[in-house]
């Protein structure tokens, strides 16, 4: 190769014709240098910008507020900000979607001296991201709509009992989970079916699976199966239809007249029972593995029962209520029992609210479902 064929790789050349807009600004944002690429992208002349305009003024108003409230403080605090989506105002007033990265250049004494800014035009990529964001919003809304549509809005209100459910979709999560609850009469006025379940996964898939399982539980429940029989039937359903493997589920039959509860839990956190004059206890009876989790498919499942004298409170719930990132499940369960000890005298709706508020872990973004059944103290 001849010497003359080489690109001139001077620092100026690298700066002026870098494949991105490149600015140096003071810590106040006043432009001190700007490269050719930026001028070509935006249509400004060198003399319009240098010592005359501030970086903030070159950003569209939304991005300008974002700069002042988020980016400038972050830059000051952390020395750099990267890959920020902004819109740059061109000389003709049109907007240039771009990605921006900035680094703070300190003076020798450590005080901020200036900011180096690069801007990559990104119209297509930003459009693509906007589409992704919109799609994600749609999916989340669809999943929420599905989920909400499948949860009964009004619980049956049996004589002598108060039923209440608190359902709280993950606050900060971007997708809904697969928790569900259900309550329906098996024999009107006599026996009530209560269900709390948790499908593995999130989003639309989980919501659809949840809908299938909810219908299956209802259908099996009305055939007269008891709690263990119903879970066995659900094993078969899940295996045959390939949907909902590892779902956890607690199914209970509340005999309103006799005030008794038959229940079975498939891999689900244990119900909690507080009887008057007794400390609340976890109901560890009637337990077996999650749906379709056992290597021996035909294996019978356990069930148990409990008396519910007037004044008793039973909690069915999903793991979102008791799981915390930093502590073991046992600690979460203890906290639930403690919470019930403290709040058990409250009416069910207030009790549920108190428990969810007291136990919820903001770091653990999961749905929370809590169903409270309490036998009125004055029941005949």
């Amino acid at each position: 190769m001849k010497r003359g064929d080489r690109l001139v790789e001077s620092a100026d050349e690298l700066f002026e014709h870098a494949p991105c807009g490149y600015l140096a600004v003071t810590s106040d944002g006043v432009v001190t240098r700007v490269n050719e690429t930026f001028l070509a992208l935006t249509g400004y002349g060198q003399e319009e910008l240098v010592e005359r305009r501030r970086l903030q003024e070159l950003l569209a108003p939304g991005a300008r507020i974002f700069w002042e409230t988020h980016l400038a403080p972050l830059l000051m605090m952390q020395g750099q900000v990267n890959e920020i989506a902004v819109e740059v105002l061109r000389a003709d007033g049109s907007r240039l979607p771009a990605f921006m990265s900035c680094v703070l250049r300190p003076a020798p004494d450590g005080t901020p001296q200036g900011i180096f800014v690069v801007l990559f035009p990104a119209a297509d990529r930003r459009r693509y991201e906007d589409e992704l964001l919109a799609a994600r919003r749609r999916e989340r809304e669809t999943a929420r709509t599905l989920q909400r549509g499948m949860l009964v809005s009004e619980l049956p209100q049996p004589e002598g009992f108060d039923l209440h459910v608190t359902y709280r979709p993950a606050v900060s999560g971007l997708e809904v989970g697969g928790d569900w609850y259900d309550a329906f009469w098996l024999e009107p006025g006599e026996t009530l079916g209560l269900v709390v379940g948790d499908v593995v996964g999130r989003g639309v898939d989980a919501a659809v699976t949840m809908g299938q399982l909810r219908s299956a539980v209802r259908a099996f429940a009305w055939t007269g199966l008891g709690p263990s029989g119903l879970l066995e039937a659900m094993d078969g359903y899940v295996r045959r239809h390939g949907a909902g493997t590892m779902t956890t589920l607690v199914y209970a039959q509340l005999d309103v007249r006799r005030s008794t509860l038959r229940y079975a839990a498939a891999g689900h956190p244990p119900p909690v029972l507080a009887r008057p004059g007794e400390a609340p206890t976890l109901l560890w009876g009637g337990r077996s593995l999650p749906l379709d989790a056992h290597p021996d498919p035909g294996r019978p499942r356990d069930e148990a029962h409990a008396e519910l004298p007037p004044g008793s409170v039973v909690l069915l719930y999903t793991d979102g209520l008791v799981e915390r990132r930093s502590v073991s499940l046992d600690v979460g369960l203890d906290r639930l029992v403690d919470g019930l000890t403290r709040h058990r005298g409250a009416p069910p709706s207030q009790l549920a609210g108190d428990l969810v508020r007291g136990l919820h872990d903001p770091e653990h973004s999961d749905d929370i479902c809590l169903l409270v059944a309490s036998a009125r103290a004055n029941a005949s």
Partner: protein, 265 residues
């Protein structure tokens, strides 16, 4: 749970000193004050906190309805003051927290001694003759900025702290909290902040106030600072040479100096 726990209240300084409560604005958390509060630690009881949804606040206490109005945030401030039983408070509010402090002072004037309002604005959106600096569309642009920039944040923020290269653990702490905001909560706070109109409340503030106005502040321009000064029953206006909207970070010495002379220190 106590208000102090919900809001990650951190106290410094002289326990028996005059209380100074510093409230951060939209977008950040109490670390905004790290160059300011030490200057008052010898004379004051310093109280720092995070607004609900920011920093180390307890998200489980977030209630969308409560925080649809700045009054919800003002009630939080009062809950902290009541819990610590603070009186004669010097309340230092940056940005939107200036108005939050003003609302709290209207509600419980007996707890407040002085207000220091840094870059206050009672209304951000233009309205007839009033120039707030923004239009409704601008605020939608901000909401879009918040949405499109959420994902990139947590991972790409390098834990580099200016002036603390030898304390990487501080960087960790700051990257994990300073930027930590639930995107939905950030969008709601943005709406509450930038769509509020508290102009009529200014006349009801009986607590004496210092208005600190930055130069070339695009969030709260000079005209807005003057408007606040003119409509408060008792206030002083100090024009800072510092530019931008965050003099507490960019020009802490000048900010501290103005506060000290106002407080007669």
């Amino acid at each position: 749970m106590s208000a102090c726990a919900r809001h990650n209240v951190v106290t410094h300084g002289r326990l028996e000193g005059r209380p100074m409560v510093l409230a951060h604005g939209f977008g950040c958390d109490q670390h905004m004050w790290r160059h300011v509060w030490p200057a008052f630690a010898d004379t004051h009881r310093i109280v720092l906190f995070d607004h609900m949804g920011y920093g180390g606040s307890d998200l489980s206490a977030y209630d969308p309805q409560r925080y649809d109005s700045l009054r919800g945030y003002a009630d939080d401030v009062l809950a902290i003051l009541e819990e610590l039983d603070l009186r004669d408070v010097v309340f230092v509010g940056h940005s939107v927290s200036a108005m939050i402090g003003a609302l709290a002072a209207i509600e419980a004037p007996d707890r407040f001694g002085r207000l220091v309002l840094i870059g206050p604005s009672p209304r951000y959106i233009d309205d007839d003759d009033y120039v707030g600096g923004f239009t409704r569309e601008d605020i939608d642009g901000l909401l879009a900025s918040l949405e499109s920039n959420y994902l990139g944040w947590s991972g790409t923020m390098a834990p580099v702290i200016m002036g603390n290269p030898d304390r990487p653990e501080l960087g960790e702490e700051l990257t994990n909290s300073f930027c930590r905001t639930d995107p939905e909560i950030a969008a709601r706070f943005a709406r509450t902040t930038f769509l509020s109109d508290n102009r009529a409340d200014l006349a009801r503030v009986t607590t004496p106030a210092l208005v600190l106005q930055c130069s070339q502040d695009v969030i709260a321009p000079d005209t807005v600072g003057r408007y606040v000064h003119e409509h408060l029953p008792e206030s002083e206006l100090v024009q800072l040479t510092a530019t931008g909207h965050c003099p507490n970070l960019s020009a802490p010495e000048e900010t501290v100096g103005a506060m000290r002379s106002y407080l007669g220190l």
